[in-house]
């Protein structure tokens, strides 16, 4: 029962097609290095406007870089993010911390279906989970993955599968 009720709460983000905000005074693209081609089209459209592309998959470094950059950016900045879902939400959290609001931040469709899963038993996050159930990197329990998404953590909520009948593990299914 509980399984059902938790699973049915979906806060899975949706990613509608991204368009350039023509009113913005500055266009900032932040992507994982492998995903920079995803913004090619958008970059072209902003060629004549002030813009910048940052490719980085190191969130800590990115944070320092953005903290420095922000003093030079106008309030009317639009940010476009590309990469895996977790990556985009991690960058989102950094931007929010710096004062950006959600209207200014656009996310492209995630580059893959993998999820980061937050284990509700040991609070460890396991990255690049492609199918569930899977084994939590922290406590080793087999976790089932819900559609409950935490924007702050950039991860889905996972809990032990079949806690009452531990030997009956369902077959793993890809997301």
């Amino acid at each position: 029962m509980q399984d059902e009720s938790i699973k049915s709460v979906s806060s899975r983000p949706v990613y509608p097609p991204v368009e350039i905000n023509i009113n913005a005074a500055y266009h900032l693209f932040i992507t994982e290095p492998s995903a920079s081609s995803k913004v090619g089209n958008l970059l072209q459209q902003t060629a004549a406007k002030t813009h910048q592309l940052i490719e980085s998959d190191n969130i800590e470094e990115l944070k320092l870089q953005l903290t420095e950059l922000i003093g030079t950016l106008p309030l009317a900045t639009s940010v476009y993010l590309a990469g895996r879902e977790t990556y985009m939400w991690q960058v989102y959290a950094v931007l929010a911390e710096l004062g950006f609001i959600k209207e200014q931040i656009e996310m492209l469709t995630p580059t893959d279906n993998s999820r980061t899963v937050f284990c509700c038993h040991c609070y460890t996050q396991t990255h690049q989970v492609a199918a569930a159930p899977f084994e939590c990197e922290g406590c080793g329990l087999p976790l089932t993955v819900t559609d409950h998404f935490s924007k702050r953590l950039g991860s889905y909520f996972g809990f032990q599968v079949n806690a009452e009948a531990k030997d009956e593990l369902p077959a793993a299914e890809a997301f």
Binding site: T77, G99, F100
Partner: protein, 315 residues
């Protein structure tokens, strides 16, 4: 209004030619502390009807010994402001609602730019002690008409120094909204309290500059404007009420003894929403979405009216 209580008027000061400041003290015990930007609704029983107007609290949010409100005498002689200015004396008792807040500062902002038009300064007066306490970065831009509505300029300039920018429309150059809004860093939020025109000017400028609407917050102190009289039918009881020209639908309903939840009484908070089962609506609120408006089946009775001669509410 379920949560009301009595207070005593312990002081009245004329702070500008059209603005009086009232100090309200508890009849017994202490008042409820409030959050920066809160308002109360004051009941004003006049002969023809009981006015209920919302006023921002401008005293210190953490001081439960008294509340302060400022009331501007409205140009058209209608409404509660006349009552407050001419009838209320020191020692009188008034019925007020518990404080509610629909205009709180956003604490995640990196900088707050407050823009006040005339009496619109009032909600910001309770922001300032909180800003100081938390060490927030802010500016206050105060637009007023010389002598008439610039009540707090002197004491503010002592307190705020170069964070305060005064624009007296009688003597100084007009406030250039575009200059005020450009060259700001991400995380700068704007708060406007004042007449519709000022709010519109800021919104339009934000659009032109490409500033996201989420950075703009406003409180309009619109009292319900009069309109044509109409007949109001309450579907469940079949009762017929007459809404006069000078009266809002909400007031007419309350007069008949029916309570409808409400907070702002100015068409912004969304509390008073009612279903309409028949009749055309003259929407005057800022709460409903375009879609809800055109659907024609919901109304905010605190400000909106019938567009025709009759309206049926599903209550």
């Amino acid at each position: 209004m379920t949560d009301t209580f009595k207070v005593t008027v312990t002081d009245i000061q004329t702070v500008a030619s059209s603005i009086k400041e009232f100090t309200l003290s508890p009849v017994e015990g202490q008042l409820i502390p409030f959050s920066a930007g809160s308002h109360i609704v004051v009941e004003m029983p006049t002969e023809e009807k009981t006015y209920k107007n919302a006023y921002s609290l401008l005293s210190q949010p953490d001081d439960p010994s008294h509340y302060k409100i400022a009331v501007r005498l409205q140009d058209n002689s209608r409404g509660g402001s006349v009552y407050m200015h001419t009838q209320v004396k020191v020692g009188d008792s008034l019925t007020i609602s518990a404080p509610a807040n629909r205009f709180a500062p956003l604490w995640q902002a990196k900088k707050h730019i407050l823009i006040a038009g005339g009496i619109g300064i009032t909600p910001f007066l309770s922001y300032l002690p909180e800003f100081e306490r938390r060490g927030e970065d802010y500016e206050l831009h105060y637009l007023y008409r010389g002598g008439q509505t610039g009540a707090y300029c002197n004491e503010l300039s002592e307190q705020l120094g170069d964070r305060l920018f005064c624009y007296d429309s009688a003597t100084s150059p007009r406030c250039n909204i575009e200059n005020l809004m450009s060259q700001r860093a991400p995380g700068t939020h704007f708060y406007i309290c004042g007449p519709e025109k000022l709010i519109e000017a800021v919104m339009t400028t934000a659009k032109q500059l490409g500033i996201a609407a989420g950075y703009i917050h406003f409180e309009e102190f619109a009292a319900p404007k009069p309109g044509n009289a109409f007949e109001l039918e309450l579907k469940s009881s079949g009762r017929l009420l007459n809404v006069s020209e000078e009266e809002s639908m909400l007031e007419a309903i309350e007069k008949s003894g029916i309570e409808i939840p409400n907070l702002c009484r100015g068409g912004v908070c969304g509390q008073c929403v009612c279903r309409v089962s028949q009749g055309k609506i003259d929407h005057r609120d800022t709460f409903l979405t375009e879609q809800e408006r055109s659907s024609g089946d919901v109304i905010m009775p605190c400000v909106s009216r019938a567009a025709g001669e009759r309206l049926t509410l599903d209550i």
